[in-house]
């Protein structure tokens, strides 16, 4: 069977400059793109400024402190953290926290799971699980008494945690973990 002859002429669809050079230039698109580039570079600069200030973690504005009203527990931590990046929660005990040469510290399970507690320094004398967390017991006779909890969050998100001396007021905090 004979095929129908092509009646449509073959046309060059590429836009021509001066009807002479087939370039395919789209200056209107390019002008929009230049405006977009300016926006992107502004955003990039803002990201760097936020990073320098610590709004993306590991900087001045990322650092935070919480304490109980009786100041028996003061906690220094980073309110903004990054996934798989080490950080430290420092817990300072006041005189009201030490009883009988010991100090007890309860940390909620989110510190171990979501915030990825790697180790506790000094090593606790005992560890006891229950009430949705872990209660550590340390020997302590004199002030200042400090415990460091090394973290390395494994998942991004907003994580809440509680920490304090059992039977006393607890310190509550929120940590935002960035990807």
């Amino acid at each position: 069977m004979a095929t129908e002859p092509m009646t449509n002429p073959v046309e060059d669809t590429v836009a021509k400059v001066d009807g002479y050079v087939a370039v395919g230039e789209d200056l209107e698109f390019q002008r929009r793109w230049w405006r977009f580039e300016r926006v992107v570079w502004t955003v990039f600069v803002l990201i760097l400024v936020c990073d320098l200030l610590g709004l993306l973690g590991r900087g001045y504005l990322a650092k935070a402190q919480s304490k109980t009203s009786d100041q028996s527990v003061t906690m220094d931590y980073e309110r903004i953290e990054r996934t798989n990046t080490p950080s430290i929660i420092t817990v300072n005990f006041g005189p009201g926290a030490i009883h009988g040469g010991e100090v007890r510290l309860f940390v909620s399970g989110s510190v171990v799971k979501e915030l990825g507690a790697q180790r506790v320094v000094p090593q606790p004398k005992t560890s006891e699980i229950g009430d949705g967390g872990v209660t550590y017991t340390f020997e302590a006779n004199r002030l200042p008494a400090t415990v460091d909890i090394a973290l390395s969050p494994s998942l991004p998100g907003i994580h809440h945690f509680t920490l304090g001396v059992p039977g006393s007021e607890m310190v509550q905090a929120k940590v935002t973990v960035l990807p």
Binding site: D18, L27, W33, F36, V40
Partner: protein, 148 residues
């Protein structure tokens, strides 16, 4: 799973960053561009693989990037507007022997760059260049005045 998401996000972020860096004259890589490629590539690798440097994880990440690249290539072919976004559009730098000043300035081009492209085609001076076009690859095409 998270590595695949990081790899895909890293691909598009690198694509955006490289795209908003203005095209430089000459399609070949200079030492200047090598610094960018190695440094950016290294940083993205570290963030993508994170602590899991297993062969399984890295294989999945490489496959994910390959698939995304193929998909972008297919979409580019199907939708010319997307092609313009990803690769840019050709731009006329010199038209009928006159410079297009705003395009030259915004693409950070100097007449010397066009003259160099002309010399590669045996054109001795800028006066002999009727049209100069900055191609999507970064190359500059030139057309002689007398060729018209």
């Amino acid at each position: 799973m998270i590595t695949i998401l990081y790899a895909v996000a890293g691909y598009f972020f690198l694509l955006l960053t490289v795209r908003v860096l203005a095209r430089r004259p000459g399609a070949q890589l200079t030492m200047f561009e090598f610094v960018l490629i190695f440094l950016m590539g290294g940083v993205i690798i570290a963030a993508t693989a994170a602590n899991d440097r297993s062969l399984t994880n890295c294989t999945c990440a490489v496959i994910a990037v390959g698939l995304v690249h193929r998909m972008v290539a297919m979409l580019k072919a199907r939708y010319p507007k997307l092609g313009a976004v990803v690769d840019g559009v050709p731009l006329v730098l010199r038209e009928r022997g006159e410079w297009k000043e705003d395009v030259m300035r915004k693409m950070r081009m100097a007449p010397e760059d066009v003259a160099a492209a002309g010399r590669a085609k045996g054109i001795r001076s800028i006066d002999q260049i009727d049209y100069a076009i900055l191609e999507r690859s970064g190359e500059i095409s030139t057309i002689r005045t007398e060729e018209k």
